[in-house]
Symmetry: C2
Subunit: 225 residues, 2 copies
């Protein structure tokens, strides 16, 4: 292990556990027992607890006092909420720059789109990382560090929710490419009102299919209008 990037046990456990959840190695609903993880990682319960608290904050696990901890089952409503929160942050970032992006930024977006276009349909992880990269360009434009961090934390939860839905995965790569193309086109237009609408639509499109799949009443959720 390199001396340059010393990481605490808590940090290591945290990212290892996060990865396990995002890979569905730890499926939603799985019971998480501190002592077991401690044995598995070869550390004591202290760092485990602190890591789990962070994951709890990200909405990946759930604690019940004195009872236990489990991997959170993220519902359609949760995803709706998470996506709206991400959307509102991205819209803020866009309003801060008046909807004006540089040529370099558009080139970066195009590169991601091009990569997205070539993804084979089953490669969910690749789609997710491209999605992340593209939206990150928008968020970083604001140069607001807390905004970036809060936005990233919202990501983890929404990834779990989306990749565990069959309705979401059907035709994923193609669909995501189309949706993001439309989004970049809207950004090119430069009209913040249009962009705002495009961002919301972009996020609500996949959620809609998940809602339909789950049989929940769509009309209760305003942004599907």
């Amino acid at each position: 292990m390199s001396q340059l990037s010393y990481r605490t046990l808590r940090e290591n456990v945290e990212s290892a556990l996060r990865m396990k959840i995002l890979n569905q190695e730890l499926a939603p609903g799985t019971r998480v027992v501190e002592q077991n993880l401690a044995k598995e990682f070869g550390v004591s319960r202290g760092p485990i607890r602190e890591a789990l608290r962070q994951l709890e904050h990200e909405g990946l696990v759930e604690y019940v006092r004195n009872a236990g901890c489990s991997v959170k089952k993220i519902t359609a409503e949760d995803l709706y909420e998470l996506y709206l929160m991400r959307a509102s942050y991205e819209i803020l970032s866009i309003e801060l720059c008046g909807g004006v992006f540089t040529g370099e930024e558009f080139q970066a977006m195009e590169r991601v789109l091009e990569e997205m276009r070539t993804i084979r349909d089953g490669d969910v992880n690749h789609v997710v990382s491209c999605d992340f990269a593209l939206h990150k360009i928008i968020i970083e434009k604001s140069r607001l560090p807390r905004l970036l961090k809060a936005w990233e934390e919202l990501n983890f939860g929404s990834i779990v929710a989306s990749i565990s839905s069959d309705a979401y995965q059907a035709g994923l790569a193609r669909r995501q490419f189309n949706i993001h193309s439309a989004l970049v086109d809207a950004l090119r237009g430069g009209d913040t009102a249009v962009i705002r609408r495009a961002i919301y639509d972009h996020y609500m499109f996949p959620v809609k299919s998940i809602f339909q799949d789950s049989g929940l009443p769509l009309e209760n959720y305003k942004f599907f209008a």
Copy 2:
């Protein structure tokens, strides 16, 4: 102490510490040593650590690895960012309801405004709690639990920043009453575009005075336009 609401040591320490910071009993920049707090509260370092991690998440304290923890000095830029994030959440909530509030909700807002009108100028805590109550009506309208929680956490940091600024405190009660009256008027109008602008203005007005006070260049911060 009631048996119904059992609280862990971590929770007790957390709210006690938060209060101390919000009351400026622990001033920005103050060094926070886990062992000292442990002695002061009569508990071990475990619960203290977990409470401090939560406060770190809220932006109230700052950890430097292996070095120490201190009460965060919140800058004008921090406040700018925190307020924008709060604003974006409130705007989201308003767009979700299409800018339509009920008569009951307006009555609740009016009650808060009336209370605000009578606050004497030095009573910062009272102003803060009224401000909180009024905006909470807007956020709760969304019925999105994570949104509410995230919004509340943003509050803590912005309270510290604002109450430690002289520029902010001058004529506070009067000013806050006027600003919030204008905001409620905008909400009555029901036009989401107008409301969005009113929300941003509402938050940026106090920040502007703090920026001017600090000598930072306003023109770098877009929402002062």
